[in-house]
Symmetry: C2
């Protein structure tokens, strides 16, 4: 490769294929899952890696190997604090990647696990994180098949960072992709939104809102299996993590070139989350979830899928929140309780850094 | 999972399944690939994850999915500096995982890529790293299929950390595992050892040894393909990265319960590496390589495999360095130039931290 010359490294010769909002340095928002993250992928990583698989921008890549249809996905986890009400970085590291595979309709099977540990972190902390991962993996029905541990000097990490990658098998006949959203589709969500983000922020800011809010981190693989059993032709699934429901819906609207209309009154926002969001100045539509999914289903299947979701422990509070329309392609519009409408935009960065 | 209680987290209830050399905190050596790393896997991760796939301790897991035989592997990269003579963290991130797959006899196909970036790092640096990854991926014949970017606050990371995981297809009839080393096998190495580690240390310490020593980072997938073409029944392949050739040989001796004898005079140590090691107080047998492999081959195939290796640009300087014996199972012994022998032990940690 060309880069074999040694210091001083001359970066002046490197030019970004398109301006990245005039940033010349990484800001927190580049990791937020919003517009800045998307720009980084579109203008920097995709051209550098130069391939079309990455450019599909799903949460998981769809691959075909030796006759098998596979989903392949990765996520790194840098959440602070490591332990929080309802879970830990270990739960997120397993469930996050398991859910990305499930959102491709795949049956999650194997995970890899890469730790980057900071010198000086207690072995008991690493042990507790690993046990949480093991427990979450058993619950989700996946095996941690391969791993790696690196250690960085004190002051050059932050306790425990984890990367997981996962592989799952996509059943024959299943074709779930953001591009398949179509006018007429009903949009379903599997339960209350904004819970994970508010749980993390409450801990981090030392806030209390009457009752403790617990993260919703969970494996959604079983829920998806039950949904596929009644409707193998699900169009789109997405777990609205970083950037929340608004970001996922905007990505889907853009990928499929459809409009999405939401009925704001039908959005399942628990009172505790609403109160916390009011206090923190957050919009629950943009707050991260770690155990919820949004599904796009043809209207004729919507009732059956909704019933299947409500019959599952993780989908008891599932509701329809809107539908796809041929108007305003690429745009998400919410009908407000007052009879008006508002555009639900893609966020620039993330309101809540290091939420996962 | 059990861990839903919130702060103060009580770690006193957590007990490590076996004492980890009396450490109660992570030290740099836990990331060094030696005995401390192995203890962390054996006593902490394997019991927590509770499965047998991980326990095989190969560089890649061997999986069967939908009729396909797959290799699956992961590595995180935290090397300092990010750019060094002969390559960059981007090259290592691609070649390291590609080589782990190739050492299972797999044809590397897809990589995932997870970045953990530190707030404030120049976009031009990220761009150069990504371009190096793209170039290395094209050379190795793999696609970066899925990715993720997280950002941590300034002072809680170190510029750029990268995790890659990879999937490759294992051809029918190929069965390459450390357990297959057998008495009588000839041990081959594909060229000069210790080059990568010395290249990094020279830069980091600002040392010069007459000529610039360049890292040997390279994809070994093509070399392995040529070796398999003449001998599908290779027993063991390993790329001696962290911990060097001594660590790889000890792992193989332990896994297969065979003895290994080396002819010290046959070890390909370049004069520049020997000089640097003498100056730095290092043993070249323990210094990391990033573009070399060691192969265990039945004696009757050794000449053909060695010839195939020498015919490949990355194997021109291949040599036989020893063989497997029924004596001293689990132990590596070197015949010195003076007619004596010495035990080549497993290192505790890594002489050179953050080498990859």
């Amino acid at each position: 490769m060309a880069d074999s010359a040694y210091a001083p490294v001359d970066f002046s010769s490197w030019t970004c294929p398109a301006p990245l909002r005039d940033h010349d340095r990484i800001v927190m928002g580049h990791g937020g899952g919003g517009t800045l993250s998307a720009e980084l992928v579109e203008h920097l990583f995709a051209p550098a890696f130069g391939n079309s698989v990455l450019a599909e921008l799903g949460d998981a890549a769809h691959l075909r190997m030796g006759g098998a249809r596979l989903a392949f996905s990765t996520d790194s986890f840098v959440v602070r604090p490591l332990f929080f009400p309802g879970g830990s970085i270990g739960d997120l590291a397993v469930n996050g990647t398991v859910n990305d595979l499930a959102m491709a309709g795949a049956v999650p099977a194997y995970l890899s696990c890469g730790f980057i540990l900071e010198e000086g972190v207690e072995l008991s902390v690493v042990g507790r994180v690993a046990e949480a991962m093991g427990e979450a993996a058993r619950t989700a029905g996946v095996l941690v098949a391969t791993g790696d541990t690196k250690v960085v000097d004190a002051g050059h990490g932050d306790g425990v960072f984890i990367n997981t990658a996962g592989i799952g098998l996509i059943p024959d006949g299943v074709d779930i992709r953001p591009q398949r959203a179509a006018p007429g589709d009903v949009v379903l969500v599997s339960g209350p939104i904004g819970v994970h983000g508010v749980a993390i922020m409450s801990v981090r800011e030392g806030l209390e809102f009457g009752v403790e809010i617990q993260s919703d981190t969970a494996s959604l693989a079983g829920l998806v299996a039950d949904m596929l059993a009644v409707c193998p032709d699900l169009h789109v699934l997405r777990d609205p993590t970083r950037g929340g429901l608004a970001t996922s819906l905007n990505e889907i609207a853009a990928a499929a070139r459809v409009g999405i209309t939401l009925d704001e009154r039908s959005l399942p926002v628990p009172e505790t989350v609403a109160n916390a969001c009011a206090f923190l100045g957050l919009d629950p539509l943009y707050v991260a979830n770690e155990g919820k999914l949004v599904a796009f289903v043809a209207a004729e299947h919507a009732d059956a899928v909704l019933a299947a979701m409500r019959a599952h422990p993780l989908g008891k509070e599932s509701v329809a929140i809107g539908h796809c329309v041929p108007d305003h392609p690429g745009m998400v519009v919410a009908a407000t309780g007052l009879g008006g409408t508002r555009v639900v935009d893609m966020p620039l960065g993330e309101q809540l850094p290091r939420i996962c």
